[in-house]
């Protein structure tokens, strides 16, 4: 599904180019639960942003189901972000001024739905994730685990091809982390959702079926 071919990226610091990604080749198949591990600053998040159509400045080629993403413009990339990918962040990134219901329905609205159509779908999904009674609450009124569930609901409401999760358990205690990881596991096994997970918590790796290691911009696959 996802194919990165010889992808590289460098930042300019003090007139010097500092490489973050060096000739990365990666292939992700439908149904994969992939963990990207590595120390902080190794380029994990950069790679994730690149896969999520957020970063456009890189060398090499990115193919999504054989389609070259590299040359697409803002409108096409926005559409890809909306329909093909769901993001889950370490600090949840829910919009504070909107209720949980309003946060979760946003991807649907950007996909052309109106407020009346989204209501049932959002409620159903929130129930499935165990926060069905929190729809009218604001993010600050929820616990970390509940907020992350809401964020996951937002990520999967448009039925994306894959979910990108950037240290989704990094701000949660171990019990809640396990809950969240089980949610991902269930999505992967029951609904066949492809998940790419960035983490440096080795306990979360147990849920995954593939692990790659990022070290100083170089990606290596760990055999299992």
């Amino acid at each position: 599904m996802i194919k990165l071919d010889n992808v590289g990226k460098a930042y300019k610091v003090d007139n010097q180019w500092v490489p973050v990604l060096k000739d990365v080749d990666l292939e992700v198949k439908q149904g994969d639960f992939l963990a990207i591990m590595g120390p902080s600053g190794s380029g994990k998040s950069t790679l994730l942003n690149l896969i999520g159509f957020i970063d456009r400045n890189y060398s090499g080629n990115y193919f999504l189901e054989g389609d070259k993403v590299t040359l697409k413009g803002d409108v096409d990339l926005s559409k890809l972000r909306n329909q093909r990918v769901g993001f889950v962040f370490q600090h949840f990134n829910l919009i504070e001024t909107l209720t949980i219901q309003e946060n979760v329905e946003l991807p649907l609205l950007y996909n052309g739905w109106n407020n009346r159509q989204t209501k049932d779908k959002v409620t159903e999904l929130l129930e499935k994730l165990g926060i069905g009674d929190k729809g009218s609450k604001y993010p600050k009124q929820l616990s970390g685990g509940q907020q992350q569930r809401a964020a996951i609901a937002r990520a999967i409401i448009n039925k994306p091809d894959f979910i990108l999760a950037d240290e989704p358990t990094g701000a949660l205690d171990s019990q809640t982390s396990a809950d969240i990881m089980n949610v991902f596991k269930r999505l992967n096994e029951e609904d066949g959702v492809t998940i790419i997970l960035v983490t440096h918590d080795s306990s979360t790796v147990d849920y995954c079926n593939r692990v790659v290691i990022m070290q100083d911009g170089i990606l290596t696959e760990e055999a299992r």
């Binding site: 942003n49 803002d74 926005s78 972000r81 909306n82 990134n93 919009i95 001024t97 407020n115 448009n158």
Partner: protein, 400 residues
């Protein structure tokens, strides 16, 4: 994104910041209140002029349209009708025309050429039917002169004093419009020739009416029509339209031009003062709207930088640059439009207060509403575009 969803989002964003939105709105409210106040007062005044020129009771107003030939000689000689029946019919069917009829040459103000001391001079002629004015020496013109169409005249002393004394002048001949008249009387003109206008004032010479008609008014053509204007119409506007129509379709359109004398121009003094005031308030309104616009811009920039994270999240969820820009522009426009509505309501209040001190009243009218709304949303659009554009250009990768 669905337009209603956009609208709802912008509305909610404004409500989240009620106090700030309201404070930013104040400038717009003041500006639009000023605009709508002067507009309704201006329109009230226009209506007042119309009503005072054309009241509900009493006689209808008339306005005269004159034909002026490019070639005056032709006009004197021709026996053609200067206004045909067709012309009268065409004008008759214009809106605001109650009646049209021909009216003759204006006999009250006529001038003839004379030669005094070998110099050519225009003198104004007063036609006498019955009895002329009091004289210094000689006799007055009477009805017998008129009946016999005799070429006799009474002249002012100022006209002849350089040639004759008043007694000498009696019985002397004088040329008026190429005809020889006998001076039968001299009167003392009341005008002081040393006055400012004395030298320019043409002297008034009396002759019998029938003599004039016999010797000078050859064609006896009627060179003007008189239009009676219906109530509720401005005479000047009706006359304007009639003149335009006649110049396009009139029977004599190739021979000359049509003109009218505008009575309502006499009201110019009052309307000039009002125009001055209008211009002054309009510039105040313009400045306050501009400053209000800067306020909107300022608030939008603050809003954008406060919501940087929200912008990033929305972009990650699939918002295009265009929809981010539209979101912020819509917020600005919505805010200023609400300000516009409030401003218009205040304007109604102010003009009601103002007109309680003025001799006319104002009403709610559509044009003022449209302009208030149009101007206020335009201010929102212009001044929130730059911040909205800045918001849309933010790099998502730097935000998240």
């Amino acid at each position: 994104m669905n337009p209603i969803v956009f609208f709802k989002g912008a509305w909610n964003a404004l409500l989240k910041n009620k106090k700030r939105s309201f404070l930013t709105m104040i400038g717009i409210i003041i500006g639009i209140a000023a605009v709508s106040t002067i507009m309704s007062i201006g329109r009230g005044f226009e209506k007042y002029v119309l009503e005072s020129l054309n009241p509900d009771e009493g006689e209808l107003l008339t306005v005269d349209i004159q034909f002026k030939s490019d070639d005056p000689d032709w006009m004197y000689e021709t026996n053609n009708e200067l206004f045909s029946d067709m012309d009268l019919q065409t004008v008759r069917f214009l809106p605001g025309v109650h009646n049209v009829e021909r009216s003759g040459i204006n006999l009250d103000f006529t001038t003839l050429e004379t030669i005094i001391d070998r110099k050519e001079k225009q003198v104004s002629i007063t036609m006498i039917e019955d009895k002329g004015r009091k004289i210094l020496v000689g006799r007055q013109i009477d009805f017998m002169d008129n009946k016999k169409k005799s070429r006799v005249t009474v002249v002012p002393l100022t006209l002849i004093k350089e040639q004759y004394s008043s007694e000498e002048a009696i019985g002397k001949g004088i040329s008026l419009g190429g005809q020889l008249y006998t001076i039968v009387g001299v009167y003392e003109s009341e005008l002081d020739e040393s006055g400012i206008f004395g030298g320019f004032m043409s002297d008034e010479v009396e002759i019998p009416l029938n003599s004039y008609l016999r010797y000078h008014d050859q064609g006896n053509t009627e060179n003007q029509i008189s239009i009676t204007v219906e109530r509720g119409f401005l005479p000047s506007k009706v006359a304007d339209k009639s003149v335009l129509l006649l110049e396009e379709e009139g029977s004599m359109k190739t021979r000359g031009s049509y003109e009218y004398f505008d009575m309502s121009a006499l009201d110019d003094g009052l309307s000039k003062v009002l125009k001055g005031i209008t211009l002054f308030i309009a510039s105040v309104a313009g400045i306050s709207l501009f400053i209000a616009g800067i306020g909107v811009m300022n608030m939008m920039y603050i809003s954008v930088s406060e919501r940087t994270k929200e912008i990033g999240i929305r972009r990650a969820l699939g918002a295009t640059q265009k929809s981010i820009r539209a979101q912020f522009v819509l917020e600005g426009v919505l805010m200023t439009s609400i300000g516009g509505v409030l401003g218009y309501l205040f304007g109604l209040l102010f003009s009601a207060i103002a007109t309680s001190l003025l001799p006319f009243s104002t009403e709610i009218d559509l044009l003022t509403i449209l302009i208030s709304l149009g101007v206020s949303s335009a201010v929102g659009l212009i001044f929130s575009y730059a911040p909205a554009n800045a918001a849309s250009k933010k790099e998502i990768i730097e935000i998240l």
